[in-house]
Symmetry: C2
Subunit: 270 residues, 2 copies
């Protein structure tokens, strides 16, 4: 109350701690964004409420007015990251309106490329893989959060994939099954790739060097397992990163083959 015109710098010359609405200072978006920054930089075990608070010039517990608890924060973070996914473009899928467009054959005005759905789904799969590899901590969180089933970005993405498949002639439940298979494959593959890359990064070497470094242990562990032994020897001379890439591309192609086969069998019987 008193001493309104103090100018002398002293303990009482408070550094105007008073800023409540000068900047909102804290918002859910900011918190989530900073959390992602921490995660990307230092991985999952580096994310603590205290560190997060400090990074935002805030107290540790201040986050709890914007976020119920850490688990909810992580759900938000996951869905936020899923927002990076580009949706497949559906323009090539169907030329005409919503009419049956009878023959999947190549005729008919505005008829779509019958393989367009494969390209679109592949695009989705590649996108998810890229996102996971860009944020490898995702996989150590998927087991707890599932796939943030109801997050808006997850919903958006699912709807888009279902759209692709439905427009390609899949029935809804069939489309859902197909999406499930694709996503399972992608998540499984990305999980293994991400954890592989994480361990490499933790040891500070690059992929090829790590393979060489690991080889003796691998050979030792493969004692009594001739096929694994042969396999390790063969892989030694392969470019690890390229092999991963090819493995994924090959796998998704193969999964789509299976889906296409089942779909054809289904539509023939109709």
């Amino acid at each position: 109350m008193a001493a309104r015109k103090e100018q002398i710098p002293s303990v009482w010359t408070r550094p105007q701690r008073a800023r409540r609405r000068d900047q909102p200072a804290l918002s859910r978006e900011q918190i989530v964004a900073e959390a992602i920054a921490i995660l990307d930089a230092d991985g999952i075990e580096a994310l603590s409420m205290r560190r997060l608070g400090t990074r935002l010039n805030a107290g540790a517990t201040s986050m709890y007015t914007h976020v119920a608890n850490k688990e909810e924060l992580i759900e938000l973070v996951v869905d936020e990251v899923l927002g990076e996914l580009r949706l497949p473009d559906t323009t090539a899928l169907r030329g005409s309106g919503s009419s049956g467009a009878a023959g999947s054959g190549s005729v008919g005005s505005g008829s779509a490329d019958p393989d367009a759905w494969r390209a679109a789904i592949t695009e989705c799969a590649d996108g998810v893989r890229a996102t996971v590899l860009r944020h490898p901590w995702l996989v150590s969180v998927l087991g707890d959060v599932g796939l943030a089933y109801l997050g808006p970005n997850m919903m958006r993405f699912s709807e888009a994939m279902l759209t692709v498949l439905e427009e390609a002639g899949f029935e809804l439940l069939e489309a859902n099954d197909a999406m499930g298979v694709v996503m399972a494959f992608v998540v499984g593959m990305a999980t293994s790739e991400a954890s592989w890359l994480t361990t490499i990064a933790r040891h500070g070497t690059d992929e090829q060097a790590w393979v060489e470094q690991l080889l003796p242990a691998a050979k030792e562990a493969a004692r009594g397992h001739p096929r694994l032994h042969r396999l390790y020897l063969m892989q030694q001379s392969l470019d690890a990163s390229a092999t991963r890439e090819k493995g994924f591309a090959n796998g998704i192609r193969l999964v789509l083959d299976g889906i296409e086969l089942a779909h054809r069998a289904r539509t023939e019987n109709r």
Copy 2:
């Protein structure tokens, strides 16, 4: 040194803290087993070195003479659980050697059932899924540990799958790719199932009730996503558990179709 024959119960009547070799009291196997018991009973966040120690009538830090740190413990635990996997039996794969018994196969002395590898791999996949569902905490750990690449039980299992595929005519690298695809699918699918079941268990209801309870929120979240909305409505009247089961069986069949297709294309060109 003194007072060797104390009998009076008192503070000094030590409850014979002296037992060093009466029972080994602590061994790596025991530690791992107890850790699994904790994990199965109360999930991943219930596993702490302190609790583990207490359960074994030991101090918290005593575990560190048998295990480097918690991470290593978890690696051991994962591989231990993988030991539950039954290996596919390979007798049906090739007729020769163990007396073909012709059996289901059509003709040819000792010729094997050409579809036997599919059955064997399906068996593997089902086994992994069952193990994961029996120990749902596995998935919240897979992202960190990868697949415990070099654990003996993991090696055993991988070698067995490779054997199945090689005996079915796959080349080693081809077999490895196929195994990768199958495992990716299985892990992805099981991850989603396990985390789903875990959240359900955490809320103390059963699957069907949880679906109903979740439905309003799901419908709300599906606003503006007509396909998802329709999907939720349709799934409402389906038995959730049976749907999961069917989804997995269907998915693995489909993946194997893809693999078989690629394999056939490969062998034709040879």
